[in-house]
Symmetry: D2
Subunit: 345 residues, 4 copies
């Protein structure tokens, strides 16, 4: 049997970190991953936080410590940490020779103006800029070649993934009338807001409700614009908080440069995502959130107006899978030459 890749997760008790720990634990190419938390408290077990994984063997949690990474010969480090923590730890990990996949927004943006929304403490440092230049935006459907050769992958935002997957084939094909503006109306389950209890995530505030937030100002907007190479005025993005635990549905509105048929549109998607195992092209049947829950798929469908000039695209994914941990595993598979579907079925 060939040697197994040694990995480590920091932040394994958060929603995305836990999902990642679960996926890594089942991945056929990996040694048992090391699991870390940022808390200083003594060793615990992942089952203390997530009893659902009882029966899967010991899943020891340790306080994070560079020394233990070295001793464990960790080759690939996953950071499911807050933005500022990732700004600090990613450069350190790279200096220590590890490859890194970072789940935060710390290293996703190339454009200085877009980065301002994060107000990083080290925004202007040359060292940070060097790391930023090395980072590859980890959407395998767009950048698999770069990912395979990179030391640092910035895993995309959940909303951004649902929107970029839906729009990239059309933008690349040049069929969208950008002057009319692209509208992205996205709705997300609550796990996207993280595990920290806040007034926003209190059950009584979320249940029986729907709310829009961060209109014109959400942090994922910059990623979307950069990856699709659009100007800020060309795309409007509104996220909403849904009363469900997980899942994202984005409804996207575009005008076409000229009349097109559904067959033509479907063909553009089908060609773009041929041999891409984690995008399902639904054609004119529209996906629903539950179709992709617990899977790593991003599902895309669309409808055309009768005059063939206006188009509504619906894109769905599980924000903890294709929107976070599943895409992380996909990125790892590409980085290390594993099969794209390994560990994700």
């Amino acid at each position: 049997m060939e040697s197994q890749l040694q990995t480590a997760v920091v932040g394994a008790t958060g929603y995305a970190g836990f999902e990642l720990a679960r996926l890594l634990g089942r991945h056929p190419r990996l040694a048992k991953p090391l699991l870390f938390t940022r808390e200083a408290a003594g060793s615990k077990d992942l089952t203390d936080f997530y009893p659902q994984v009882l029966g899967n063997g010991q899943l020891r949690l340790q306080p994070f410590d560079w020394q233990k990474l070295s001793e464990g010969n960790v080759e690939l480090l996953f950071l499911a940490t807050p933005h500022e923590t990732s700004r600090e730890w990613v450069p350190e990990a790279m200096q220590r020779g590890m490859k890194v996949i970072d789940l935060s927004g710390a290293w996703r943006l190339k454009n200085t103006a877009h980065r301002q929304v994060y107000a990083f403490h080290d925004a202007d440092s040359a060292a940070a800029q060097q790391v930023s230049d090395a980072a590859v935006y980890g959407l395998p459907e767009l950048r698999s070649q770069q990912i395979s050769g990179s030391q640092l992958v910035a895993n995309p935002g959940c909303y951004a993934t649902s929107i970029i997957v839906a729009l990239a084939p059309l933008v690349r094909a040049g069929i969208i009338d950008r002057s009319a503006g692209i509208i992205c109306d996205s709705k997300s389950g609550v796990s996207g807001a993280g595990k920290q209890p806040t007034p926003t995530t209190h059950f009584v505030e979320v249940a029986d409700n729907l709310s829009a937030y961060a209109v014109f100002t959400h942090r994922h907007l910059g990623e979307i614009l950069e990856q699709l190479e659009l100007d800020e005025t060309e795309l409007t993005f509104t996220p909403h908080l849904l009363p469900i635990p997980r899942g994202i549905l984005s409804t996207i509105y575009v005008r076409l440069e000229q009349c097109m048929t559904a067959v033509e549109i479907e063909s553009i998607y089908a060609q773009f995502y041929a041999n891409r195992p984690w995008v399902r092209v639904f054609g004119t049947r529209l996906p629903q959130i539950r179709y992709s829950l617990q899977t790593n798929y991003c599902d895309v469908g669309f409808n055309l107006s009768s005059d063939g000039k206006r188009m509504v695209i619906v894109s769905c994914l599980d924000n903890l899978m294709k929107g976070a941990a599943g895409q992380v595993v996909h990125n790892m598979n590409v980085m290390f030459g594993f099969g794209e579907k390994e560990g994700l079925n």
Copy 2:
């Protein structure tokens, strides 16, 4: 004490009909309403269907019968019936001298092309056209004068109300760049789909899910276009089914003809809805669905892009209140010269 208006509800066991029966039972200007069902079965009580109203006195349900309307001296008839039933019964009720408020889509549309989506059996009849000409679209914020003098009010659709209330002030003010298109992304609770059990309303299909439906083809589109005097290509409307029992949130995207400030926009709304008790203008604070649940309010808020050219409007209401039974009572209040808030607090 002055004489009390005698009313009757047909379809009192549906969600909107029941909500209406409840409101009428508390209205200070009304005699006890007669309650009818379309089923032929013998007399029952509304509490057999809705035990929640136990303790509010007898609420007898009768099979519908024109004779009983006459005997009861009903002056105002409410039809919470399917479209085709309303097509048949409204003309009959008018001939018998009653005033009618119809909750269905039967008489809302003036434009023949828009009506085709309903495929009415009597679409081409001159008699039907005459009734249609007499019908007033019952959005009191737009047409209170016509409503007060009418014999037939067509109560608006729930989605349509949320969108027209949000857009009418802006369209009338002429500030929208229509050439870029107006996008209306609406999300509704399940009671909007009616009480009939279907695969679509099964709990397991709706819970933990979100789905778009009837893209480009929903029946409320025609009402919206007519009331706002827009062409079909100028507005795109996508409804979604939310995993909540009631409530609608519409997120509406417009481009402005020229840059504007939030103060200017808020002032347009405030003036338009001055002295309109059932629209709450939130300004740049965005309403959420739960703010208007169990009330007759339509809440409207908005955000502007930093360049003042793009605008996102959020509009919320309770689909069984302002979106149905509450607006019916509001229309009745206007028709009969009662206070606009009577029976709705």
Copy 3:
């Protein structure tokens, strides 16, 4: 017009406090209530916390201050405050001559052993004991005479209300075989856990879930035993957290001393709750949570085993109404000789 009672609420921004403020604002016998928070921050409006009450006039919130109570000539003080706060403020308010209805568990228990679960800081003080002796347990169906003459009413716990209402008629009638034990399996919506965000109330932890907690140790157990005059070994109470915002359903199991018929049982309930407007006796039809939502009713139904020896009772109420704020208003009505239904329809 006769003079109106001046009241004040402390803790108006919590779930129960807000519900109370809403009810008081509509009560025909009351002057506009003063609303206080325990926070030191400057004046705000209740609509800052609950936009749903926009349009109901100004609802000014003030930091709590004894001076303002005096200046406002407050006759009746409502405390929707934590247990320890109520332990401190109730004696003070009584000394200042106000009547008090306290929503916390601070003054509900007569039995010292039962009180230990709260670990009150002043548990042993003579002064506290004197207040405790003066307190009346505010379940109007059991103690309306005492309530009407009291200066201090301890408003019952939500779970306790649902269980005592269901059991009191049977216990008083002496038909229960206590030696077999009484089982109370209760399920509550999340608002019962309060507005403070905690891991327990995070949407993702509650949705799609059910959990039992505080088995054998819940604070309401003492109240239930005291009001029903049972020994600890005679009754087992297990609360559960339901994925709904509000509402309680208690399923209660008893063995009967001898075989009985449903007619006999229903008659016991009907006689006990004759002229009690806020208990609805359902007989052998079982109530559901949604029947009593947004109302002040406690609904009670039951089923008998075919041999007439075992009985399952189902009791439902809205934990913020009959389980909290509605019962507070009911208690006030009894205290001040208002009609029992006033302000609660």
Copy 4:
């Protein structure tokens, strides 16, 4: 590679049948299963009903036909069909030499009195009695030896599984005071009610609600009594409908013959379920529904009263996995000598 078992599912479009089809499709010992529906309509694909399995290859659905079973050399037939259908088809399948696992209640009961609740059309036939005698109740934790030698396994009811797993170790150990009665208060998600849309499963009726039903009369009561060898008067079972898609939690109340400690109780469970991979003994930590969702585990925990005489047991499972399709696979594994965990991770 050794030969693969050929199976077929009838009723693959129902919730349990679909879950089973999914599990079988991933099972390492099986050939691709044949999938049948009871509908006469032409061939379809499972993805027409469940788009979530798109991308898993063709999943052809055929109208049921004995001929196709023969041609396909089906050795093991799964019936996810209504009770009466299973009464008819199981004997036929057995005559044709197939082994059968039946998911319905048709063949679970040995006691004639218990069977009356189903009102089987062939209740009195000798042929039916012969099949009934051959049927093994498929709870592998109790009857693995019988299952391994049987031709017909009657897969247990979902509620029954949660209750029997929780009680069997205690009943067998003889520590329960049966004279006081055992109370089983169970709560189930809506998928347990099946896929057919009914007023009971309408989203608006279920959401924000909880209801008890079939008190003293639920069909699973007989199974529970038979498997635990209890008299009807010794156990009371009340099911409730929870506003969640899947999952069961049973809260079970027993009195003990004599005082015991938690350590003693936990030891009884641990010994009983030693080497049983699909029961997780939680000790005094209580399981919650979400811990076992999407798994084949039945989780059991308990609390003792301070005097060691009363016990509350909490048992959880996923009604479509351990409560249906997962247990079916477990039974198949036992029947054919596969590993107990194969195909279930």
